[in-house]
Symmetry: C2
Subunit: 200 residues, 2 copies
């Protein structure tokens, strides 16, 4: 079965829309998805950016909020920009890696995005993350303990390093088995079609 890597960052608005769309589209395309949460911060820093481009370029940032509203609405999703923006996503990304190892990382990731961008909640707040974990039937304290082990911390660092090595510069990014890279929620269908063509 062909596959794609789905690199996503919890602070990324367009990753939210992609994360909510990807599972059924990939299933229809016959493409397996590897969910790979990473941190954009180090990658933006390498480009000379100290914060989100939404904030660095206010005119473009205001447009992107509007565009995200439209893209979300076109997919039946609510959209609100949380405060602060961008959010601190370090703990969410660590928990996601811990959860992915146990098979509930996709659902966790969608729940984080819904809290953050549909409900406008602060997912940098451990209390919010704890509620999300508990609602998925998991022990928040045990999950947080695992998320802060060196193994998980190093996994997240390695994923971010891998993303940079693969020339990821933003999120979401989709990479097919042959290395073909697609950036942006609006390239999800093209990425899946590319990956599916490689099947034969």
């Amino acid at each position: 079965m062909p596959s794609i890597d789905f690199f996503y960052e919890f602070a990324s608005t367009y990753s939210y829309v992609a994360a909510m769309r990807i599972a059924p589209l990939a299933k229809d395309a016959g493409v397996a998805v590897r969910w790979r949460p990473f941190l954009l911060g180090p990658i933006f820093k390498a480009q000379g950016w100290e914060t989100s481009p939404f904030n660095l370029y206010p005119v473009k940032g205001r447009y992107m909020v509007r565009d995200c509203e439209r893209e979300a609405a076109a997919n039946g999703l609510a959209f609100r920009l949380p405060e602060p923006f961008p959010q601190n996503t370090l703990m969410a990304a660590r928990v996601a890696h811990a959860a992915l190892e146990e098979g509930w990382g996709e659902g966790f990731s969608r729940a984080v995005y819904t809290a953050e961008f549909a409900e406008g909640r602060n997912i940098g707040d451990p209390a919010t993350l704890g509620e999300i974990v508990s609602a998925l039937g998991k022990d928040a304290q045990a999950v947080f303990a695992k998320a802060q082990t060196d193994a998980i911390k190093n996994k997240l660092r390695a994923e971010t390093d891998t993303a940079m090595r693969l020339h990821v510069f933003g999120a979401p990014t989709f990479i097919a088995d042959d290395g073909e890279l697609f950036w942006g929620n609006d390239r999800l269908e093209a990425a899946l079609a590319w990956a599916a063509r490689a099947k034969g």
Copy 2:
């Protein structure tokens, strides 16, 4: 009939793809298009950029070349990045305004884009522009003389000022009658659908 403003810059790769696609799509949607060539340079400068973001962010720039190749190919168009990139587009934009006043500006704009991005020619070279104008059955010397009148120079300056005032930050940009703004070739269909909905 509803309409949209189509702000385009001859140096913009994605404007090329949009310019080659927009006429039949707009006709099918029942939307009139106002072709509005402008200069991105002053707008990029206001954002602190001295050149194209393709050049400022090399990893992203290399991706965007590949993405343009794919977007062009998906629409049956060739794609080559001309040397130098970005091109000097001042004269092409002035000639486009002169030509639009006379009703042949759309065809001229498509011909410039084809020379630049399908054939990789230097459209900053007056000889190239002269060939394009002549091939359209016009007197190049007379057209260039008109393009360098104060009236045309001021028209192009005013269009660039208008674009900035309307919060245009990149190209192509589409603006519906109600002010709704869409950025990027990949938002062309959404912009036309938005404009067409406003019809009723």
